[in-house]
């Protein structure tokens, strides 16, 4: 099997925040009735807790993101994704669900630096409410960055994690770099 690489191939760029390729990450899409106790116990059997709406439990590499009322994105190690898909598919085989490994269909960035600066970089590109109270660590926001869909959350006060489709990874990197150009700080947050 060919070696997996991320679309950004380890890029690290610095503006007034640091934008980094988060590296290979396991991402599994689960479409199911999240109110079904069988679904919740299958998830727990695979080692994952159900997040509340618009939130995440855990972190990149080990956790779950709430994507919609019937969709989760499970976060795991890149090389464990296939095994977890098999475990979940087996546990949920009697139910109407979809489990798919989408690890290589997405790109993941880490934005770090001063917390207010990270919020500002995202706010320049997206209509989301980036104030600390509206998007504290642990909450997930799916939105758009300029012209493409993206999801992001704050892993800590000073670091955001951002997921977009692999095909637009280069576009998103250039967007982020542009709005993080030193000298273009607005200082809103």
């Amino acid at each position: 099997m060919p070696e997996s690489v991320t679309p950004l191939d380890g890029a690290t760029c610095s503006g007034f925040v640091t934008i980094k390729d988060a590296g290979l990450a396991g991402m599994i899409l689960l479409r199911a009735d999240l109110g079904d106790t069988d679904v919740v116990s299958a998830l727990q059997g695979a080692g994952f807790d159900l997040p509340d709406p618009a939130e995440l439990v855990g972190e990149l590499g080990n956790g779950a993101l709430w994507m919609s009322p019937d969709e989760l994105m499970i976060l795991c190690a890149h090389d464990e994704a296939e095994a977890i898909v098999a475990t979940l598919a087996e546990a949920l085989s009697e139910l109407h669900v979809l489990v798919a490994n989408v690890s290589d269909a997405r790109a993941v960035f880490r934005l770090s630096g001063n917390g207010s600066a990270v919020r500002e970089v995202l706010a320049k590109l997206s209509p989301a409410d980036l104030r600390q109270a509206a998007l504290p660590p642990g909450r997930v926001r799916r939105t758009r960055l300029a012209q493409v869909p993206a999801a992001f959350w704050f892993a800590s006060d000073d670091e955001a994690v951002l997921i977009c489709f692999r095909s637009v990874a280069g576009y998103v990197l250039e967007l982020l770099l542009k709005v993080a150009t030193p000298g273009s700080e607005v200082g809103h947050f």
Binding site: P53, A54, W66, M67, S68, P69, E71, P127, A128, D129, R141, R142, T143, R144, P149
Partner: protein, 109 residues
């Protein structure tokens, strides 16, 4: 700028995160209907100055369709609600009536 709260994920969505779906609560007329009914269903749309009910899709988010009640003149939003209803629920009707005295839903007198 229009801001609608998605009733499924609770996100306050900017208009640019949503896809418009046109007038809400249309009844489909298909095979077996008269030509007039079918024409009405396909082409005739309300375009009011004031209270209006629309379908929207949270396309840059959870992907779900929902309904919104708003005012096309003032841009006031009365509320958003589930897509799985044929008419505005009572709390939405009350919210509109409170702000627009004398307003009533089309099947009410």
């Amino acid at each position: 700028m229009l801001i609608l709260t998605c009733p499924y994920c609770g996100v306050r969505c900017d208009e640019t995160e949503l896809a418009p779906g046109g007038e809400a609560h249309l009844k489909r007329f298909g095979p077996g209907s008269s030509d007039e009914e079918f024409e009405d269903y396909l082409f005739m749309r309300a375009n009011p100055n004031g209270v209006h009910f629309e379908r929207w899709r949270h396309v840059y988010g959870c992907g779900k369709w929902f309904h919104a009640a708003r005012n096309t003149v003032t841009l006031e939003v009365y509320g958003t609600y589930s897509a799985q209803v044929h008419a505005p629920p009572q709390e939405i009707r009350d919210a509109v009536s409170n702000r627009v005295p004398g307003w009533h839903w089309k099947d009410e007198s």
